[in-house]
Each structure stands twice: as structure tokens, then as C-alpha cells.
Subunit: 250 residues, 2 copies
Amino acid sequence: MTFQKRAHKILELLEELGEVEIRQLAAEIGVSEVTVRRDLANMAASGLLYRTHGGAMKVSQLIKPVSFANKAAVNFKAKDAICKRAAEDINDGDVIFIDCGSTAFRLCQFIKNKKIKVITNSLPVVNELQNSAVTINLIGGEVDPIRQAIHGTIATEHIARYHASKAFLGADGITCDGLYAGSEHEASNTLAMASQSDQTYLLCDVSKIGKTSYLKFDDLSVVDILVTDYNGPEITEFQSKEILVYSVTY
Amino acid sequence: MTFQKRAHKILELLEELGEVEIRQLAAEIGVSEVTVRRDLANMAASGLLYRTHGGAMKVSQLIKPVSFANKAAVNFKAKDAICKRAAEDINDGDVIFIDCGSTAFRLCQFIKNKKIKVITNSLPVVNELQNSAVTINLIGGEVDPIRQAIHGTIATEHIARYHASKAFLGADGITCDGLYAGSEHEASNTLAMASQSDQTYLLCDVSKIGKTSYLKFDDLSVVDILVTDYNGPEITEFQSKEILVYSVTY
DNA sequence: CATAAATGATTATTTTTGATTGATTATGAT
DNA sequence: ATCATAATCAATCAAAAATAATCATTTATG
């Protein structure tokens, strides 16, 4: 039983039940709880599900605003520190892209009072910024019910009609070779946003650094600034590729 | 029983009852009062409810933007009856437009189990159809924070790229002379949806019949079917304009 | 065969929960 | 109004459960 097969099974059960327990999954799939936990961590990082204490639930079942439930989210302290640093570069009057994904989502809390325009394909971002000072443009297209984001060719084309001063992007993994995504849709949206903005920020907590996923979609050429809580040896490699690195601590 | 699950339960009970006591919640959910108190503190901090001595209260409707999502909405019985009748015409395989507005929103509950594609510019519709059998396409563009909908020229252009078999539209007012809207944006979206679908249904409860608003945007030529709880004299006039009228009672 | 990756067992750490206790707040009688 | 009583609350602590981290073992892969 490979990871892909288990992931499929888990998503199936999740779709059917809305929420699942680790105990239950381990028994159902026939692997140890440790493995299930690892799988869930992976899938949560890709935005396929929301990790709870003892199990997982569908992202779409989260209570809105999502920031409420997210207090217990994976690695949220690192993500908050990253986003706080990134938000310092956002000024009134800016037009920014915000990518979908749990990391970029945490940017919302730091920009609520800024007079900016946010263009996003993430439904949680829209919900979160609902009653804030920012004006929101939502990318149109197919709704991905699992990731809670807008995807598809129409979405990608729609992004191309906008232009922003800064883009705040996420990725499933990043190595010195490039960026990795969990799905083609996400990759093309991320790339589209990058190409339509003056500066692109990549928000990556330590768990993403050095990690690869099934689809490599960029050789790091689109990334201008990497914001991360990681400070290991790869940092200099990123810098040698003309990437400015913001190292944050918390 | 995780925190998220309890939060759901609490919000559910709160929505139903208006206010709840800690004793009651503890018994209902099957956890200690201490835990309930902790949950309520968390939720109150996020503005999901008001904490009272011994329990909690629902936050006032004024503060919540999506006011038409709950049963307290205006005239909901008539709207439900209208939408129920309209939903009978929706079959598996259909592609339909759903307009923004409180009336069309109530269509959601009747189509959750249909295998259809819904194209909409209404954020509450997207939220409501989240865990349903339907696939959703969201119109892109500017987010109107008051109406909870997407509008603007990009939105109108985006609608033009789709085609649907049926469109379920709303209006601020309808007379024998035409349709009235409260804003240009809404009007152009409604018109765009109408022109891109084979059949257009207008969902209007009695309070809209005979009412005018500041912008007349159509002379009834785009309306194929009017679904309403009104059964006064104007009905024959609508019929004489080649509009099929579904009169519902409740 | 050697290396790398994935899995499972074990242990330490963290999170969650519920009980207890003293402080605070509401209620009603005077 | 004031006080006494009862209820609720916040804080602390301990137990249980879940998680993260480490290491050994198994399984794949070149």
C-alpha cells in the first residue's frame, strides 16, 4: 500500500464522513498510526485536509472565519512569523496577489488594516478579509472543493488580466533546483501570479525546504524573495540564485 | 470529540436557540463544564458568539454580514416555496446560473443532491453548496462586501464565457414594464446570465411584485418563467408578455 | 549488493481534558 | 441600598491522550 493509495483512501473516507480519526484510519487501511499521522501531515501541508487533534477534517467544514480554527494548525507559529515579516513590506496603495494554501492564508491577519487591494483565488482568504479595510478581487473559475480555491484554465487566464506590485505565494516544496506543487492547477496559478507581479515573495516554513512533490514547476527564477524560518546551509544556495532571503525567528 | 466538532455543535445549538447554558451544552456534548467554558472563551475571542454569565448568546444579525443565510431572513417561507418549485425543473446534468441575492440563495437547499454544475457570483451560494454533490464555478471579479457577491466588468465578461441551460435570477422589483435593480453591477450580471442561458427563471416573492427601484434594466423580454407566491391581477399581464408563471402557495 | 526510502516501535514532549480551590459575579431577602 | 447566599468563573494541577522525535527494521530501487 503506497502513500498515493493511502492518500486516496483517506480522502475518500473524508469525503464520505467529513471527519476521520487516526485510530480508525490505521485500522481501515492496515498501517500503523505513525504512518497515518505522517500521511495526514503531508496532506495537510498540501491543503488537502485540515489536521485536528486525533484526526482530520475537510477544509470546507471549517468554521468561518477560518482563522478561528487555525489556531491549532500545523506549524502556525512559524507561519505567523513568516507572514508578519512579509506583511512589513506591504504598504498602503499596494495591489497584491495572495496564493491559496495555509501559509499564505496567515498573511490576512497582518493586512486587515492596510488600504490595499488583494487579488486571490483562495476562498478562506476572501472570507477572512471580508470585513477589513482591503478591497478584494476574486479570481474566477472552477471551485476546488477540497483545497477551497479557484482553479482551472479560466482562473489562470483571469489572473493574467491583473497586475500587482507584489505576489505572496506558497509551494508544496522547495529545493535548490526549483519549486514543487501538489497539483498542476496550483502550479499554473502560482506561476501566473508570479508573472503578473513586480516582486514575488515565496512564503515557506521549514517543513517545505528541501522537500519535493510530484510536480516541479519552476527553477526558482520567478522567486525574488524567500521568507522562511529555516536558516540551514541551503540558504546561501538560494542567495546565489539571486533570491533575497528573509530569515525569521520566533 | 475534537474542539472543532464541539464548536460546530455549539454554533448549531446557538443558531437554533439563540442562547445556550453551559450546563446544557456540557450535557448535550458530553464533556465537562470546564471544557465548554474553554470552548466558549475561544469562540467569543474570535467573535463567533457573545459570552454571558452561565452561557452564551448568538451574535446579533447586524454584525454578521451573511444575514440571509439563516432562518431569520425576510419572508423565507415564501422564498423557500418559490425555490422549491423552481428546483423541480432542475435535473441531473444541468448547468445553471444562480444569481446573487437572498431569494436565489434559498435555491441551494433544494439542489444539494443533484448532479449539476452551478455557476454563480454569490459567495453565500458557494459556501452553502460546499459539501454537496454539485460542482461550482465561481464568477471572478471585484468582491462587493455588502452584497457578498462578485461584480464589475470583469465579472460580466466572465459570465459571457459560460453557457447554461437555466438561469435562476433575482431582481429588486418587477412590474409589467420591466425589471428593476438596486445597482448597475447587479443588473449587468443578471442580464449577462440571462443572455447566456437557454431558459431564464425569475424568482420573486410578493414583496417585489409591482415594486420599482432606481434602475430599470430590462423590459421583461429576457424572462421566460416567473416563479412567485403572488397571484393578483398582474399575473395575466405577465402571461401576455409570453412569460410562463408558476404560482406557488405555502 | 548497496543505498535510499518507507514503515513501525519506543520514548519524550505536548496537548487536551477534568477535578479542585479560591475569587468573582449574580440574585434575592432584608 | 446592603448583605448573605448561591452560582459561575479563572487558575492551578494532575491524568490521559495524542504528537513529535529518535532509532531500528523492513521494503523498494538502482
